[in-house]
């Protein structure tokens, strides 16, 4: 399955995922609380130069922010109507910069690197009962089954169309869920049969996907 990641060779791509996420969190907090236009301009120019450094085409960058633009436009318009156009512009500009920064992190970081970063970040939470390897296994299983269930959804929809039920969400969701739950049972049995022990040692599962998640279990 294709991610949003945009492949290129650049210093931004080479930065570790954890570092980029940290910059994003700190940057977003600073930008969203900034009311000084000259500092916002500096932030905007910095993010734009980072895009150039990462060799992201302008079209790709704009496509990431476009879905939020109409809401931001509506917010600006509303503030302009009540005479607060300056505040409206401030909110809009702040969000465009933060959204661009967040998109840059996603565009320059592979899904697998993000997953490894999540697993590392969860490490310190082990004393609270969080199992990073189990979380990673769960994420890779979910990724594996998105195309499987997506095909199932298309098949069920096709069958319901033949019965004239193409507008019924109930007729789509019920069989789809029953199939997903049966698949989950087969996957759990396959994992169990291969000696997977949820209470066992925490092995690293990011390098090789677990055997049970390799292929979808048949009904």
């Amino acid at each position: 399955m294709l991610g949003i990641y945009h492949d290129a060779r650049s210093p931004v791509h080479r930065l570790p995922a954890g570092a980029k996420i940290l910059v994003l969190i700190v940057g977003a907090a600073l930008i969203l609380s900034e009311s000084d236009w000259s500092r916002l301009a500096i932030a905007g120019v910095s993010v734009a130069s980072a895009f150039a450094l990462a060799r992201i085409p302008a079209g790709v960058a704009v496509a990431q922010i476009r879905p939020a633009l109409w809401i931001l436009g509506a917010i600006f318009l509303f503030h302009a109507l009540i005479g607060e156009w300056r505040l409206g512009a401030l909110i809009t500009v702040r969000f465009v910069i933060v959204l661009a920064l967040a998109s840059l992190v996603t565009l320059t970081t592979r899904v697998s690197d993000m997953m490894a970063a999540i697993e590392r970040a969860l490490g310190p939470l082990r004393p609270l009962g969080v199992k990073p390897a189990t979380v990673a296994l769960c994420l890779s299983m979910a990724i594996r089954f998105v195309p499987v269930l997506s095909n199932e959804a298309a098949a069920v929809r096709e069958a319901q169309r033949a019965r004239g039920l193409e507008r019924s969400l109930t007729a789509l969701a019920s069989p789809l869920i029953l199939r997903a739950l049966r698949m989950a049972d087969s996957v759990a049995e396959a994992l169990h049969a291969r000696g997977y022990d949820p209470e066992g040692l925490e092995p690293s599962t990011t390098d090789e996907p677990p055997k049970g998640a390799q292929r979808p279990a048949s009904d």
Partner: protein, 188 residues
């Protein structure tokens, strides 16, 4: 004795339901008469996660789905995804999803023995509409800085579609309850 297999099964339910929420978002929106915003089935998946898996597993399934979105998979309607959606003006609705699923699940668990279609619809509306809109509108007001009245009226357009989804969720949950009573199993 067989806690290990039941834990493994919970893991599989969470993973498969996360994938199901994604799959529901990938099917094209169904246009309905009299509803201004097209209906995407994704928030239906969020309500169903709670109604079918229960509070804990349901909320975890939604969190796993949101993690897939965060790491850069384009699984939200319209192929949106990545970290930007969690910083955007409508991010509050996403943050409300796991809480909404938890609330639907907790209500279903509490009233499992006498839950019927009407009660399930009510629970789906409480968790899947009220809770999620509370987070979404609170974010719009507190973080984005939208005036409360504008945040409320702007969100109203999506309420009819979400009410329909709550009815669908209840009907599906009742069907699945008969065939696959997962919440009863986990309580036993």
């Amino acid at each position: 004795m067989n806690t290990s297999i039941s834990q493994t099964r919970d893991l599989a339910y969470v993973a498969l339901f996360a994938a199901l929420i994604a799959a529901l978002g990938l099917i094209p929106a169904i246009p309905l008469p009299f509803i201004p915003a097209p209906i995407t089935a994704q928030t239906l998946g969020v309500m169903l996660a709670g109604a079918i898996l229960g509070s804990r597993r349901g909320a975890l399934a939604v969190l796993v789905f949101l993690a897939l979105v965060a790491i850069g998979l384009p699984l939200l309607p319209g192929g949106r995804g990545g970290l930007a959606v969690f910083a955007g003006p409508t991010a509050g609705f996403l943050f409300g999803w796991p809480v909404g699923a938890f609330v639907v699940g907790a209500l279903m668990e509490r009233f499992w023995d006498r839950v019927d279609f009407i009660l399930a619809t009510f629970f789906s509306i409480v968790g899947g509409v009220f809770v999620i809109y509370f987070f979404g509108i609170a974010w719009l007001i507190a973080v984005v800085g939208v005036a409360p009245l504008a945040a409320l009226t702007g969100s109203l357009a999506f309420i009819p579609g979400d009410l329909i989804k709550a009815v669908v969720c209840a009907s599906v949950a009742m069907t699945v309850k008969r065939a696959y009573p997962l919440i009863a199993q986990s309580r036993a």
